[in-house]
Symmetry: C2
Subunit: 240 residues, 2 copies
């Protein structure tokens, strides 16, 4: 089997963030999901070495724990457009809504298509992106491996998150791989079946889930005061 | 496409080691490559949650930078056999030689087969494992992403490593993915074509490569005095 696409998972260790690079090999068009400003140069170098043209830098949401690399990537790789949900409250070149498709490589033989699914709860603008041809979903901070995003700031709502996960993510086929925006235990991916079966929060009833989420007593995120104002404008002052 | 196998890349952050879990979904038989003692319990829990039977814990070589998890996994998951190269000088339940195949899931519809390729140079017993059906090679410390293993101790030989990589790894198809035992830059995999094209050491002549490797002036590995004696006996005193 000769590959028709490139798929790379990349890691930023300070905020434990996963960034994903997807590309169509016929047209060499690429998109990146959840880049981080500290690793934007690494990512730009890889994109250039692979001979790719970066069309979209997508954020699953306005992050509170790191500054997005979208703005820096736009500077390093002109032609790239930033993408955010139309419910996010942030600025971007392209706004996506629930159910919309993002396509790259349309002029080639094997266009790469990802579906946007609005999955609010961690924030109002949280979006998961489903790559059906590969059998994968990029869940941002909605579903994490054996966990989920916190719901105690940025319009967070445990009730909304439960609905999002049950109706928009756990309705995907069991074998779809789950690629989150973060992991803190050295795991790189999971599957829908695994999270439906073994996620200690998401195997609970709605009421029990809300009870857990409202009593996590987490620390205030270290980078939030820097990250939120920057991420609202896609990472760089004066850039959208 | 419904999956016929499970493939998971796992990370141990102190030694920046990648561990790989491969399983056949019909028979639920699994093997693990380069487990680390500190994360053996995490790995055992995942294997149990996935309902897998671990048949082999394979080390690509006798590591100097971390203690293998093989011995601990054998205790946690009885029935698992440790595997090392017959050239490694270490003890194991099963010794593999160049060109031999390791198979799991043989009683099922989709046996999972990996080919052992002797790739000495970092150590005498270094072996790479090729998963042809997936299009991937687990290179241990032979090829790293844009780098390679050091050759200044443990029978290291830059000349041997160059021969191993050119004849046993770079002869694989260009699209095969390269999964190393370590990465220190947040990258999770590469491809044969990428390393043939962009690896700053391996795009050099044999003479230039040897010159580079003999002048790296690296620190003595932090864990070597603990790791080597332990790894010679697969990680746990009294276990093989």
């Amino acid at each position: 089997m000769v590959a028709t696409h490139i798929f790379r998972q990349l890691y930023e260790p300070v905020s434990s963030t996963y960034t994903y690079l997807l590309a169509d090999l016929t047209t060499k068009e690429a998109l990146i999901i959840d880049p981080v400003i500290e690793t934007a140069e690494r990512d730009a170098k890889l994109i250039q070495q692979l001979g790719l043209k970066l069309r979209y830098a997508i954020n699953t949401h306005v992050h509170a724990d790191h500054v997005t690399g979208s703005g820096k990537l736009k500077k390093l790789l002109p032609g790239c457009k930033s993408v955010l949900s139309n419910q996010s409250g942030g600025k971007a070149d392209v706004y996506v809504e629930d159910g919309e498709f993002i396509k790259i490589g349309e002029s080639g033989k094997t266009p790469l298509v990802i579906e946007s699914r609005a999955t609010p709860g961690h924030t109002n603008g949280c979006t998961s992106f489903v790559w059906h041809d590969y059998g994968a979903v990029f869940t941002g901070d909605a579903v994490l491996i054996r966990g989920c995003g916190r719901t105690d700031f940025q319009q967070g709502s445990a009730d909304k998150l439960y609905t999002s996960i049950q109706t928009k993510i756990f309705t995907l086929p069991d074998h779809y791989l789950v690629y989150p925006a973060h992991d803190y235990t050295g795991q790189t991916c999971s599957s829908i079946l695994e999270e439906k079966t073994h996620n200690p929060r998401l195997t609970k009833s709605r009421e029990a889930f809300i009870e857990i989420m409202n009593n996590l007593k987490l620390d205030y995120p270290k980078q939030i005061d820097k990250a939120l104002p920057a991420n609202i404008i896609c990472g760089l002052q004066g850039e959208i």
